[in-house]
């Protein structure tokens, strides 16, 4: 989806239909130009920590937003979140859980791990477009991120 330029959004979503819908909404808002979609938690960690298929990722900066589904194959969303928030190199990255679940335990676990926001993935079209669109606008345009550090460690 993007070569060379820094990735702004990392979308971690195993369901291709949900990913397509999310992409459609972000594209309509012109927010999807620099988006990387990965389909499981292991790939998300490889991307963020420049391992595996992403060992040569040249981008200097980390994404400005991670949209994270919780119910993922291999490494779960909760584990991905735990890794991101426990590593000094990635802990400042805004992570928004975008999940079908509003299960108390999922919500609580996410906040305990330091999630930046928890959003319930709506079922209906108008709601879905509104929620995903507003999320993208808020985190990429309104939110003021910390300056990138030369060496986060």
């Amino acid at each position: 989806m993007s070569d060379g330029a820094d990735i702004e959004i990392l979308l971690v979503e195993d369901n291709p239909d949900d990913a397509e819908l999310t992409l459609r909404v972000l594209r309509e808002r012109k927010l999807a130009n620099r988006l990387q979609w990965v389909r499981n938690g292991a790939d998300a960690l490889d991307f963020l920590f420049r391992r595996g298929a992403y060992v040569g990722r040249s981008a200097r900066e980390n994404p400005r937003l991670i949209l994270l589904d919780l119910n993922l194959p291999k490494v779960s969303g909760i584990e991905v979140l735990a890794r991101i928030k426990s590593d000094p190199a990635t802990r400042k990255l805004p992570v928004v859980v975008l999940s079908s679940s509003t299960h108390d335990k999922d919500v609580l676990d996410s906040y305990n791990l330091g999630v930046n926001s928890y959003v319930s993935k709506p079922v209906q079209f108008e709601e879905f477009a509104r929620v995903v669109g507003e999320l993208g606008m808020y985190w990429l345009l309104l939110n003021y991120p910390p300056a990138p550090q030369e060496d986060a460690r």
């Binding site: 369901n15 239909d17 819908l21 709506p122 209906q124």
Partner: protein
């Protein structure tokens, strides 16, 4: 459950002579197996509600969203009948989404462990009235509270119950315009707190009263009043989980009264002494 079992065991040890030991052991075994049954049921419920939340919603989202995209972007490829059929599909996807949400709300209410705190009932009732004020329209809502001591119960659950009962009454009273009346009255009768939400709305036939509290049971046509039949089923779960009970009375065209009773609960040993419950 574990707490109640512990109390039972203590009680039996205190009152029974030593030769009853075998009998007590047998009872304990039976209790233990009941506890395991309950834990297994709780686990199934947990797995089911998780499955509903995660797994059933995703395909619904795809049906709802992609059919809408089809309608918006590709309607030209369909004739009039094709568009109508697609709208039928979408209407049912929407209905399915609501039903799934309803089942989930019910399952979550059923799984909820009551969190008991001591609170002022009048403050809670005022809070509920305030929170519902936007949806009252022209219906006049009055609150009648008899003086009562602080109550010990699951405050958040009681709040949800009152909100739901008020919303329910407002829905069935809305058609009466300026004539709409709702009264919430609460008082203590012996060892129970009894609350009744009465309205002069559409009412129902008394012979169906027991069905009101069942999931997805409705006594009115969807065209007349929308709704899923979830609210009162949730109310019942929340009240019964605290050892209380619910009931309803009404008549067609003559309003309805939905009531609940909450037992006075002991706060550790604090209230137990004054009640003379354990000594």
């Amino acid at each position: 459950v574990a707490d109640a079992t512990g109390r039972l065991r203590n009680r039996s040890r205190r009152h029974d002579p030593p030769e009853a030991g075998a009998h007590i052991r047998e009872l304990e075994q039976r209790l233990g197996s009941r506890e395991r049954d309950l834990a297994a049921i709780a686990e199934v419920l947990e797995a089911l509600s998780h499955a509903i939340a995660h797994e059933l919603r995703a395909p619904l989202r795809a049906i709802d969203n992609f059919s809408q995209i089809l309608l918006e972007r590709h309607a030209g490829a369909l004739d009039e009948e094709g568009v109508r059929l697609l709208r039928v599909v979408r209407r049912n996807a929407g209905r399915m989404g609501s039903l799934v949400s309803g089942v989930l709300a019910f399952a979550q209410a059923a799984q909820r462990e009551p969190i008991l705190t001591r609170f002022r009932f009048d403050a809670l009732a005022a809070e509920v009235l305030q929170a519902s004020s936007d949806s009252m329209g022209r219906t006049r809502v009055t609150l009648r509270l008899a003086p009562m001591p602080d109550w010990y119960a699951d405050r958040a659950a009681v709040r949800e119950v009152l909100l739901e009962l008020l919303a329910n009454a407002l829905k069935f009273t809305g058609g009466r315009g300026d004539e709409g009346r709702i009264e919430i009255s609460c008082r203590v009768v012996e060892t129970e707190l009894i609350c009744a939400v009465s309205d002069n709305g559409a009412g129902f036939e008394q012979q169906y009263a027991h069905k009101l509290f069942r999931l997805f049971q409705r006594l009115h046509d969807a065209e007349e009043f929308d709704g899923l039949g979830v609210g009162l089923a949730v109310v019942r779960r929340l009240i019964e989980a605290q050892g209380g009970r619910v009931w309803a009375s009404g008549a067609p065209g003559d309003g309805a009264t939905i009531s609940f009773a909450l037992p006075r609960r002991e706060v550790g040993h604090e209230v137990a002494d004054s009640d003379g419950g354990t000594s």
